[in-house]
Amino acid sequence: MRARAVIFRAAFGRACRAAVNLLIFAVFFIPFYWMFLTAIKSLGQTLRTPPVFWVSAAHWENFRKVFDAIPFFSMLKNNVVMTLGIMICQFFTVIPAAYAFARFKFAGGGFLFGLTLATMMIPAQLVFLPLFLMFSRMGLINSYASLILPWATSPFAIFMLRQTFKQVPRELIEAAKLDSASEWKIIFKLMLPIARPTIVTLGLVTFILNWNDYFWPFVLTTNNAVRTLPVGITSLNTVDGGVRYHVLMAGNLLLVAPVLAVFFFARKQIIKAFTYMGGK
């Protein structure tokens, strides 16, 4: 009797775990499936109630309609330029700042770090108008500069990276000094390799946030020449009057495809980065 109860309980536990896994999978997968499905539906199918969960013939022309409605490839290029530009700028601003805050004691260091963190608490909606005015006075509206400069650094990234640098045991740096390493050697051969998982993770976060960003590119540009994909895709909403969910979703699919690809290829690195950060 006892043995059977144990077996039953084990089986029940396995079943519960499987059910939970299935649920989690569904929560994450269904929205993607729905997006993909809508992207290949006809307009009629998107509006049907009850909704259809399967289509027999895919309407691939939805994608062509995306290309017809917006200058897709020029917007894609803008997106790439903006995202890469931001990532490169942050690389050169965040790493030195984080390193200095973590390693050096200097007059006003604590205050400056506090100030850096304080900027995280200012909502974007509060600063976009002054920022817009500033950029327009400088003649930078409708330029890549206006897309990149507001995000050329990141207080969050500075904070995270500073923590990582601070966690490096003091003895490690001392050992390097005893090994005649210069400050540059210490940075490039010791500290940056140790911080690599954090840097990669922060890079991915920056990539995803800015790739999908809608608000800033929208308010800081006024014509399609420099507008980015999220702005363009949203405008699909309103072409020809009525809401065309199928074209909108086709556009969305094209927008998130690179993000999904990055996730797919960098999966190991991302997991490692997060477990490393959590396990320390």
Binding site: E171, E174, A176, K177, L178, D179, S180, L190, I194
Partner: protein, 345 residues
């Protein structure tokens, strides 16, 4: 003047009162010098000042007669082994070892030869391409040693390098270190709070307390001729028994003038069943056996007496039963201390 010399060295951290004041210390070239003392007495601080990782607030440090005040840690001709090894986690064993050589631009050929030799010496030939986190504690310890040896320093500084290892490995590496010291002929400065390590490895022991040197000398002289109560009670296991002269039931009539307390080592005590008045040269204590530790080749007995507890360490023989006994000590084994705790000789 060769070796290492500290002259009037003072160290204060920030605005705190100094942890080391006016310290004079000489470490002879080629010696295996142990900085020994209780936790917080300033051993690491002294070592780190010699390494140049901590700046002395006053005084001078000389290595081979050269004032080190403006010499960087890398330029002092020293190597250091840290308690937690401080291996570079993103580098392989080989990269860890050759990092220091690369930084001083040692030609590749020589570098390779030296790394290969050292790796063989510490028995890590099969592990050169591993990262430190995939090594056992003992292997990491050996990488840390190899990283120091490969630089061919004149001085090795070690801060409790064995404290993270289990007892067996510790004993083994202890022997390895003695051998290494003999082979290299370099000066070793070794920090520990473990007197067994100190006694077994050192050629010279510097006993520290509260940032001051209480006694410096060979292990033998520190053991047999302690100059004060602190030294007497720090060295030896179990430590020396110390009793107040005035509390003694049977007075020692030959104690020198000014004696306040008497000491004797547990290993010099004998246990007898009755008082023999004819034995004049002996200090005698009547006591109740309170605890008994049988440790194979010897046993340690703890007695409660009129002047506190007393330990006796007896090499194996018949086991002493619980009850009342007399503990006797030959007068030649007695140490006398005055009221300041200094030995009277």
């Amino acid at each position: 003047m060769t070796g290492i010399e500290l002259r009037g060295v003072e160290k204060a951290y920030g605005k705190n009162p100094p942890v080391i004041e006016n310290l004079d210390l000489q470490i002879e070239e080629g010696s295996f010098t142990i900085l020994l003392g209780p936790s917080g007495c300033g051993k690491s601080t002294i070592l780190r000042m010699i390494a140049g990782l901590e700046r002395e607030t006053a005084g001078h440090i000389f290595i081979n007669g050269e004032d080190m005040r403006d010499v960087s840690p890398g330029g002092r001709g020293i190597a250091m082994v840290f308690q937690n090894y401080a291996l570079y986690p993103t580098m392989t064993v080989k990269e860890n070892i050759e990092f220091g050589l690369k930084n001083i631009k040692t030609p590749k050929q020589e570098r390779e030869a030296r790394v290969t030799e050292v790796v063989k010496m510490v028995g890590l030939t099969n592990y050169v391409n591993r990262k430190p986190q995939h090594l056992s504690g003992g292997q990491r310890q050996r990488v840390a040693l190899a990283r120091a040896i490969v630089k061919k320093p004149k001085v090795f500084l070690m801060d409790e390098p064995l404290s993270n290892l289990d007892a067996k490995l510790r004993a083994q590496i202890r022997t390895d270190l003695i051998e290494l010291h003999r082979n290299l002929g370099a000066t070793f400065v070794y920090v520990t709070h473990d007197q067994v390590e100190a006694m077994s490895m050192g050629t010279d022991i510097v006993l520290l307390d509260n940032g001051r040197i209480r006694q410096q000398g060979s292990p033998g002289s520190i053991y047999s001729a302690p100059r004060n109560l602190f030294t007497a009670q720090f060295i030896g296991s179990p430590p020396m028994n110390v009793v107040k002269a005035e509390d003694m039931e049977y007075r020692v009539d030959h104690a020198p003038h000014g004696t306040v307390s008497l000491g004797f080592r547990p290993e010099n005590a004998v246990i007898v069943s009755e008082r023999n008045p004819s034995e004049r040269g002996r200090a005698l204590f009547r006591g109740e056996l309170a605890a008994r530790e049988i440790l194979g080749d010897h046993a340690i007995y703890k007695f409660k007496t009129a002047c506190g507890s007393i330990r006796a360490k007896i090499m194996s023989g018949s086991t002493v039963e619980y009850g009342e006994w007399f503990v006797g000590v030959d007068r030649k084994y007695l140490y006398y201390f005055d009221e300041k705790g200094d030995a009277i000789i």
